[in-house]
Symmetry: C2
Subunit: 329 residues, 2 copies
Amino acid sequence: MTAPTSLSTALAVALAWPALVTADPLPSWNDGDSKARIIEFVERVTDPDTQDYVPPADRIAVFDNDGTLWSEQPLYFQFYFALDQLAARAEADPALLDDPLLKSAVEGDMAAIAEAGTEGLLKIVMASYADQSVEDFIADARAWLATARHPETGLAYTDMVYQPMLELLRYLRDEDFETFIVSGGGIHFVRAFSESAYNIPPQNVVGTTGETSYSLADGVPTVTKDPGILFIDDKAGKPVGIDMHIGRRPIFAAGNSDGDFEMLEWSTAGEGPRLGLIVHHTDAEREWAYDRDSHVGQLVRGLDEGPDRGWVLVDMAADWAKIWPKEPQ
Amino acid sequence: MTAPTSLSTALAVALAWPALVTADPLPSWNDGDSKARIIEFVERVTDPDTQDYVPPADRIAVFDNDGTLWSEQPLYFQFYFALDQLAARAEADPALLDDPLLKSAVEGDMAAIAEAGTEGLLKIVMASYADQSVEDFIADARAWLATARHPETGLAYTDMVYQPMLELLRYLRDEDFETFIVSGGGIHFVRAFSESAYNIPPQNVVGTTGETSYSLADGVPTVTKDPGILFIDDKAGKPVGIDMHIGRRPIFAAGNSDGDFEMLEWSTAGEGPRLGLIVHHTDAEREWAYDRDSHVGQLVRGLDEGPDRGWVLVDMAADWAKIWPKEPQ
């Protein structure tokens, strides 16, 4: 009986060997402090023999979306969708153009849009979907994402997700973390692609939430997107959104802008081991470089206070071997 | 080699035999139409060889809480908690009693409370937790649930969960459904016991949601319960809450009152196989019997329209072999 056993053992070792040697949960992360600290944290909280062990139910990890999981320059991608939807609506209903701001939006007058500020931006976005059913909105978003291309890279927007973050999401899930998106973007827009792009189902997406209502539309039970905002999932709204949707304080939080500051502050302030991570956009060559003075994804407090708070500051140019899954043509 | 193999086979058969013969996923449900229809539905949607097969990701099951998963008579249990909390607050801050309604509440003047209607009830509940942190509120609720006893049964409130529904929740989860609570009760109150009572984690609890805010309270990052209601998860609010928190239309929905009507209407109106279920309180001997004229859990439309809509009407007295896990002493 000795020979067959040895053969089986040899076979088992041979099969396991490559995995033992090369298993790198984060192959698109260059070796360095950021990668080492992430792996050290995950190994520590998942090792039952350490004092810092965290049971799976409490392994909640939250991720901002724009600028953290996919790109956000030169404008939040959802805004391009809103402009295209608004233009289609104006074609069917030219009275929309009586509003000067909406007219500027349809004409692509970015200076006028920028001047209107956050309030103007919300007005444009709400006008782009008002009175549409949630199901139709998501179908429209999916159809748009399938064909629209980024104005500078020519890539599909869903091809501008960050490969290193896809690996981080998968690594955490493999280690029995539950991953959530906590986005300032619209909850329904993010849900249109979160499952296919990130393997994150709709129930794990927290986002800015417009008013909705339930009614029988021509006899068909329907949830409709109404004008008006119920909840803005940004800044101090992020801990509120996490409490509302998840009901547990995360032990891992990743963001890239000061809109994520309170989320990281709250997540990393609880008892036990915790990790905050900020994606710092430092790569003007492969993506974009921006922080303190950016109109999108502004990052000031995170840079000034993050390191002292023990947050990992990811240097995209140095830490990431790859940005997107595919290179632009 | 024949003998050992036969022995192993015999052993395997012997071990498997009782399971094959007696495996009943719903042992506290009496044989009858309700039980048969639930099992038929679950077997159909989980069998890849049927046209009605539903992939696991879409197996979303939603349950009302009060009157569906636990009892709700003579008053919603959360209201007893609010009264006890309010009394404790009034002891520390007697100025609260300047308000006639709050005074009536603390004195247990149920007639005055009833007269104040839903608005008065909300006012009492909000006064019982205003400005408390979510963490403290949940800790208080857990402490209260650990010691408080129901005024009529003498049972702990969490011992008044329905044994047949515990089995149904487990059965669905065993068949790769994801189970959610969608309650008119307060989201934080339900989360205080959902995991220990039902094995439903906080992120799977949808409920009526008060305003909250994030701040540094004496330097400590804190989410606080403010006065004011963000969202009422009842009637037409239930499909809205499901869309907001889950983002998928359920294929199974269970309720017991007309507050659940729209949830069942919406859940059962989608494409593909769907099942609605109404717990009808018919058992005055073991629990309570009430429907059309009840001040709590009123059920009119569900009785009148449910059967024609194909919803299972559970007759508690006839369908349930057991009500609560333990009998009252």
